[in-house]
Symmetry: C2
Subunit: 129 residues, 2 copies
């Protein structure tokens, strides 16, 4: 089959490295909400309630926790401007830009996969009809 190097064949060291690296990544940006929050922020939504509306399905409690977590990991900064209405803003840091490749890959794949699923369902319909 792929013995003649058709697939990516890594040495055992690089293999565990892949497992470890992806594990590290998932530990920080894994979970249901982290990346979506980052996307919403990248779209220019900075306020708490804006984000909650934008990231559909998230509760205030969870959003609050996730934001703290993201701040701890250096992806965003929380700023408070005193005033008549106190303005709290969340803004992505430069470090969050390092996720660009991950985000792009995920977005591209998600788009592709959705189209693919539709095709599968159509075929299934035809086959069972």
């Amino acid at each position: 089959m792929d013995q003649s190097g058709s697939k990516v064949k890594l040495g055992s060291k690089e293999c565990s490295a892949a497992l470890t690296a992806v594990g590290d990544a998932l530990y920080v940006i894994g979970g249901k909400w982290k990346l979506r929050i980052i996307i919403a922020l990248s779209e220019g939504f900075t306020r708490f309630n804006e984000l909650q509306r934008r990231v559909e399905g998230i509760s205030a409690r969870v959003l609050s926790n996730e934001l703290k977590d993201l701040e701890l990991n250096g992806f965003l900064v929380r700023t408070v401007q005193a005033g008549s209405p106190v303005v709290v803003e969340y803004k992505l840091t430069d470090y969050s830009d390092t996720l660009a490749d991950v985000l792009n890959a995920l977005r591209a794949w998600g788009t592709m996969h959705r189209a693919n699923i539709k095709t599968r369902m159509k075929e299934a319909t035809q086959a069972t009809s």
Copy 2:
């Protein structure tokens, strides 16, 4: 409950598309184990117990469920060869190759992030010393 056509109705479609696409992706390959199992499989481990040893920390029950899920989503195929010891093998499908970019991006980022954390800790040590 949002009655007003909350579907794609915004001027900037790309933004909501990103959220949807990444949401789709996370729905399928999100979670603690999926990608790690795929990596282990890509390393050539095909047997159940091999995978369980390779994907550190996963229990038999969870591994079983994840494998079913991955098979349902077309990432792998389960084959059973009858014999004195029945041989069960899990093999990645071509469709799993579409995840290459995602995996590479995640691996690269995880590696970068780990190095970055080390640097931060060093600096913190120096600052407090």
